[in-house]
């Protein structure tokens, strides 16, 4: 494989990564719905945090720093939220707005 091929492969991977984002975001939203509800799912918070953390870590490596930044901010917004407890209205609104930002990134 030449460096030129590597460049093409990288572009392909980048497209693949970008293409995977809507499904990942959908999953994150679904996890959030399991948290922001009458009976919050205790496991969902950890999975959501990990999903955001992974996205924050990988976005920039695929040339999408805005994805990393938005995901890091969303992960940050979950700080202090206890597993199994429902987020307050302010936090919920902030988190939803950050997910919207992530979708546009």
């Amino acid at each position: 494989m030449s460096w030129q091929d590597l460049g093409k492969e990288f572009q392909k991977l980048r497209m693949e990564f970008r293409g995977s984002l809507p499904a990942k975001l959908k999953r994150l939203r679904s996890l959030w719905e399991r948290i922001d509800c009458e009976e919050p799912d205790a496991d969902a918070l950890e999975i959501l945090k990990r999903g955001l953390h992974t996205m924050a870590g990988s976005g920039g490596s695929f040339g999408l720093p805005q994805v990393s930044k938005a995901a890091a901010a969303a992960e940050d917004a979950l700080d202090g939220l206890k597993a199994g407890s429902r987020p307050g209205a302010k936090r919920a609104a902030k988190f939803r707005a950050l997910l919207d930002k992530l979708e546009k990134a």
């Binding site: 460096w3 995977s20 870590g57 695929f62």
Partner: protein
């Protein structure tokens, strides 16, 4: 010792000279003499007033927006908040004590522990391009299987946020293992707090690279910890 890369060495020397602990100044001067740090642009002050570091450096996690205006200012505030919260991007790799010259046809085996499938693919591709032999693992069972394979890896790249095991635990176990303890481990993580970096180094990591990263950084770090040119 963590050094703020935005201060010139001469200023740090002045500040350290005023400290009651002479060992701090001594350590700084040793680093300078050994060539690990230097003022960017040389000693004549022609640089931008920051430190050039060899082997490690830190820089802000996200660059400040270039566009002026209200939205940029607001974004900058947000960036500063994140900086305060998340610390810095770290690119740390301890240089091997001795230079290593690979013998003809010798393959360097790199264990990549990464659960993000896209990043794992990227790393694999990049390592193959650099003529390393990657061995991939994404979870506890994968790690165990990969470490049981012969030959043992020459170096490991370790993501610390894994689905079923804490990467720091993997690091600790490797460093306590009679055979695996000599395998250099480079931690790759989006955990960019000072505490996380110090924890990684305290657990025995030979390198600490915060995500996201350019893949070139990985090659540089792997070569540094193995003593390759």
């Amino acid at each position: 010792m963590l050094i703020d890369g935005h201060s010139p060495v001469s200023r740090l020397v002045k500040v350290f000279s005023a400290q009651p602990k002479p060992e701090l100044l001594d350590a700084l001067q040793k680093l300078k003499r050994a060539g690990f740090i230097a003022d960017a642009g040389g000693d004549d002050g022609a640089g931008d007033g920051s430190i050039e570091a060899s082997g490690f450096f830190t820089r802000p996690i996200f660059p400040e927006p270039k566009d002026a205006g209200a939205s940029a200012a607001s974004e900058s505030d947000e960036t500063l908040q994140l900086l305060r919260k998340n610390g810095y991007v770290a690119r740390i790799a301890k240089r091997a004590a001795e230079a290593r010259k690979p013998v003809k046809d010798e393959k360097i085996h790199v264990l990549v522990i990464e659960d993000d499938e896209h990043l794992a693919k990227l790393l694999r591709m990049f390592l193959v391009m650099h003529e390393f032999v990657p061995r991939m693992a994404a979870n506890r069972d994968g790690i165990t299987a990969a470490l049981r394979l012969a030959p043992k890896p020459d170096v490991a790249l370790l993501d610390v946020t894994l689905p079923d095991i804490d990467g720091f635990e993997v690091l600790l176990r490797m460093k306590q293992h009679p055979v695996l303890k000599i395998v250099p481990v480079i931690v790759m993580t989006a955990k960019a707090t000072r505490e996380a970096v110090l924890k990684g180094l305290a657990c025995g990591a030979d390198g600490y690279i915060t995500k996201p990263f350019d893949v070139d950084v990985i090659s540089h770090a792997v070569k540094a910890v193995l003593g390759l040119k």
